[in-house]
Amino acid sequence: MGTIAAPTIGYALLLPFIVIFAAACVGILVEAIVPRDLRRAAQLLLAFVAVGVALVVTISNWSAGGDVVVGVASVAVDGPTSFIWTILLVFGAVSFGMFAERKVTAGVSAFAPMAAAVPGTVAEREAIEDRREHTEVLPLALFALSGMMLFPAANDLITMFVALEILSLPLYLLCGLARRRRLLSQEAAMKYFLLGALSSAFFLYGAALLYGYSGSFLLSGIDDAIRNGVAGTGPQGTGLLLAGMGLMAVGLLFKFGAVPFHSWTPDVYTGAPTPVTAFMAACTKIAAIGALMRVFYVALGSDRWDWQPLMAVVAIATMVVGSVLAITQTDVKRMLAYSSIAHAGFILTAFVGASQAATGAREGQLTSVSSVMFYLVAYGAATIGAFAIVTMVRDSTGEATQLSSWVGLGKRSPAVALVFSVFLLSFAGIPLTSGFIGKWSVFASAWSGGLHWLVVVAVVVSVVAAFFYIRVIVMMFFTDQPVEATGAGTAGAEVVRPGWTTLLAVGVGVAATVVFGIYPGPLLGLAQQASEFIR
């Protein structure tokens, strides 16, 4: 009998994740202990302090350098992880600012006063009159954030699955908490939950099959098995590998919102409270593509000939469906949802390119991972900013999400319309915005990965996509009458002046969009340092 060695955890490197997770736990205690009228302030303080501390630790660990696998080989803290953690924390904090908004909604938050009450009942009315609110949203969001941090950093499939659940479950709940349009919100939560559960099943089944193939949950172990072959790798073994790969792909692509696993996205984005939508649209995508890349580059990278055609097809379908369907949308949130699908497709082009050092990328070349990272910053900043604007444009029924009521906004509130236009131009990839550089870098890395035809398709689709973004700008500035009025809500919406936390979200979005469009060098450099996963 040998001695049992104590496992090394590497707490210092894991600290950012631990801080966020602990803050979420403390947040629950706050809910139980702190008096009601102090809870909101306490929760906000806790959340922002936790994110701040985590951010500082992440950056100091990152600058200390070194790619290490910690937590008994279950978490990889390497360049991509640090980059993703940093942007997750920044975008998370910015979204929490939107969670805290109370000014636009006449002194209450965007969340339901009593989520458990059946809509339209006496209990709900009482809760509204009491001006109650769920301050639990912040701990929930912190739990989700911690899951998002763990998800792309996980070094084995079990940890990854646990992270997937940590990030998903609070989000299901948050989706159902909208103050206005409760039924839509609850329906969205329900759908997201059921479909999310289905996708988790796919993921888990895939993980099991890959274990069956390789005898290991470790990503490096799976890689090892593919490279060196394992006992019994006959047709049967290959079958396990391929089936596992396909099922994993389904699970991960669902979270990423790629076609054909996207159908939940428009409904959930529309139904969820807008701050939550912003949080999901930016942060979930970041976490999901991080995990997707880690699994497929680290564990399945040696077998990329099998998954590249698949992902290429998915990328094209995602771009096309997202861009084309966005054109026909009449609702801002729904349009942004389809736009996020389209962007998922553009990101996937770089992912399919798999232009990494391991696949023969030249030294110093922009790799797939670093171009995706840059794209995520550009996309995340514009997304959060755009949704923040959506919370500000309101009419008597709450947020005026009908596009027809945005007609002529440029006349009534030129500044807000201008800022929204900046985000739309960035989405469209027009030069001098970060979206342009982002598109260039993902297309270029796909190109150097040898997928020239895919880049051509992507450029064509981005032309189509530019069209519907520009259309919204035209509607805001250059259309006088509601030309495409569709049913309710055609009365012009007004911009309500929000509190500073929402303005901060808009400000961060604009600053990032413009600065990284005109002067992207430093960020690209940073993304480039974080270009390789540790194996």
């Binding site: 996708s199 696993f261 159908s263 998954w307 027009i430």
Partner: protein, 634 residues
């Protein structure tokens, strides 16, 4: 020939960015300031291109005084994208080619701005109009001053955006909105070529700067260089309205007339020619692409002339003639080193006389209550004397009347075309005759005796602020060719590695003589049909002739687009929407959701959508499996 290595710009040249910054800043002020700027906005808007013009003249004088080898000045501004193998700086390049463009854009642009003060005097949104004009000028300047393709592309997109805003300026007219959209979409098709070309350059040279690309393209394999050239040609076709991407130009006439003048004379459509000439090394390395340029130019010059013959709308006739003249420039650019300087020469003189004629047409419209139908004109020579005289100068210039501007520039192209290939030469010659025909027709229908005015129209000459630019441009149309002829080819040759020869002011060749005869024949035929004694019907006569019909319908350019791109596109969208249930599904449709009870909603949830979503997912998983297996087999 060796390629020229630009020298570093110091001193005065380090401020070259002001050329672009001044109109850009003015545009920003005008668009953001709101109503407060309504009273002085147009003056600021006009001042901006004038300042740029003065700066341009200063730089031009400086370059003139330099040794030939030092005339290409490179002004780096800052590192834009620098990551590993890529290093793309934002920088400007002032050389013989770009300074000519700067002077043309700001010079003619300034005159158009001055004219617009009068033309747009009664428009409530004049300030915004000037903001857009400034934006247009700034974007175009960035396009021609960029030192690499990616920065050029920024200007390229900016020009597209500004043209979209200006063509659709009178957005209350649905036709204007549609035209703007069309220009945007067609231009994006061209942009496609540009972006892929730049991607190729970055992959091949790890740089997109003109210097690196010119230096490296020699080592490229011929097919690759040809591909690159063809992609750039696609971009050029979009911006310069060359076949097959010509359809937007005629519709773009929906914009205010000064916009047409700016688009046709000083900005936008010249960008394609600039791109081809600037990329001369690529076309030298890929000769097949050069041939494609010649073909496109030749086809377009006939195409545009054909359309010019069959329109009654004065602006559309001019638009057709622009297509045709740009076709000449493309043809010259495609011929290669002997043609580059001629292409630019014609571009400059065309800038003079076309701006002149567009503004003249605007003056006529101003007099005729915005009527554009030439069948309602007639006998305007007496009513609008200044407009008539200046227009006539432009007319004589475009048909290539001896010693007028077009005479020098166009004859050179026709001659060069004959030396390159007799087919292209013959087409260019025919084009010259047809040009003479339709331009004479325009003059006769507009100015020759025989009033066909609508009731209540009292033509009057335009105010001074509009006629002065006309006079200046008219004078340039007369003497522009004379002044530039002896000088411009030698000036441009080193920058474009051209071998164009400088001809004397008076030189008669066989081809020149034949051209003159063909032009005279065109005029004669026009007089035969539309002479002063002829009765011109008030409405366009119905015709059975397929050729006339084709011309009236823009040679079926729209029908083609519709059949090939639009209808399949719409069908695809509809199918996708139906397949995805994107609009009708789920909750976006739920207008009455809050009213209807929760239970019914829940039932709906359980009965339909989640299940169908889950089904989609499962089907998707099956597809995933199928693709993986197919990949294995294949």
């Amino acid at each position: 020939m060796e390629s020229v290595t630009p020298v570093l710009g110091t001193g005065l040249f380090s401020l070259a960015w002001l050329l672009i910054a001044v109109p850009a800043a003015s545009a920003a002020v005008l668009l953001l300031i709101g109503r407060a700027g309504d009273r002085w906005g147009h003056f600021l808007g006009t001042l901006a291109p004038v300042v740029s013009f003065v700066l341009g003249v200063v730089y031009f004088a400086d370059l003139l005084g330099r040794d030939e080898a030092e005339r290409a000045v490179h002004v780096p501004l800052y590192d834009w994208i620098s990551s590993g193998t890529w290093n793309i700086g934002v920088g400007l390049q002032l050389d013989q080619l770009s300074i000519v463009f700067v002077l043309l854009i700001t010079g003619v642009g300034s005159l158009i701005h001055v004219y617009s003060i009068g033309y747009m005097a009664h428009d409530p949104r004049r300030r915004r109009f000037f903001g857009f004009l400034n934006l247009f000028v700034a974007a175009m300047l960035l396009l021609v001053l960029a030192d690499n393709y990616l920065v050029l592309f920024v200007g390229w997109e900016g020009v597209g955006l500004a043209s979209y805003l200006l063509i659709g300026f009178w957005q209350e007219r649905p036709s204007a909105a549609t035209a703007a959209k069309k220009a945007f979409v067609v231009n994006r098709v061209g942009d496609l070529g540009m972006s892929i070309a730049i991607m190729l350059m970055l992959a091949a040279f790890s740089s997109s700067s003109f210097t690196d690309v010119n230096a490296g393209v020699g080592q490229l394999s011929t097919p690759l260089a040809t591909t690159l050239g063809l992609l750039l040609l696609l971009g050029a076709c979009g911006k310069s309205a060359q076949v097959p991407l010509q359809s937007w130009l005629l519709d773009a006439m929906e914009g205010p007339t000064p916009v047409s003048a700016l688009i046709h004379a000083a900005t936008m459509v010249t960008a394609g020619v600039y791109l081809i000439v600037r990329s001369h090394a690529i076309f030298t390395a890929g000769p097949a692409a050069s041939i494609a340029v010649v073909v496109v130019g030749t086809v377009t010059l006939l195409f545009g002339a054909y359309i010019g013959c069959s329109k009654d709308d004065i602006k559309k006739v001019l638009a057709g003639s622009t297509m045709s003249q740009i076709g000449y420039m493309m043809l010259a650019a495609g011929i290669g080193p002997v043609g580059y300087a001629f292409a630019i020469f014609h571009l400059v003189t065309h800038g003079f006389f076309k701006a002149n004629m567009f503004l003249g047409a605007g003056s006529v419209m101003h007099a005729m209550d915005d009527d554009v139908d030439m069948r309602h004109y007639g006998a305007l020579a007496r009513a609008l004397p200044i407009t008539f005289v200046t227009f006539a100068a432009g007319y004589l210039a475009i048909i290539g009347f001896p010693f007028f501007a077009g005479f020098y520039s166009k004859d050179h192209i026709i001659e060069a075309a004959f030396h390159a290939s007799w087919v292209a030469g013959t087409c260019a010659l025919i084009g010259a005759g047809v040009t003479a025909f339709y331009m004479t027709r325009l003059m006769l229908m507009t100015f020759a005796p025989g009033k066909r005015w609508r009731e209540g129209v009292h033509p009057h000459e335009s105010p001074l602020v509009m006629t002065v630019p006309l006079i200046v441009l008219g004078a340039a149309s007369v003497v522009g060719g004379l002044l530039l002829n002896g000088w411009i080819t030698e000036w441009l040759n080193p920058a474009v590695q051209g071998e164009a020869e400088t001809e004397g002011l008076i030189h008669f060749t066989l081809i020149g003589g034949v051209t003159m005869l063909v032009v005279l024949a065109g005029i004669a035929v026009s007089f035969l049909f539309f002479g002063p004694q002829k009765v011109i019907p008030d409405v366009q006569p119905a015709t059975r002739s397929p050729f006339v019909r084709a011309g009236r319908r823009d040679l079926y350019g729209d029908a083609f687009n519709e059949a090939v791109f639009m209808r399949p596109g719409i069908r695809m969208t509809n199918d996708l929407v139906r397949f995805d249930g994107a609009v009708v599904d789920g909750i976006a449709n739920g207008t009455g959701t809050v009213i209807s009870g929760f239970s019914s909603r829940l039932r709906r949830v359980q009965n339909g959508f989640v299940r169908s979503y889950a089904l989609t997912m499962t089907a998707g998983a099956a597809v995933v499996g199928a693709i993986i297996l197919l990949g294995r087999l294949g």
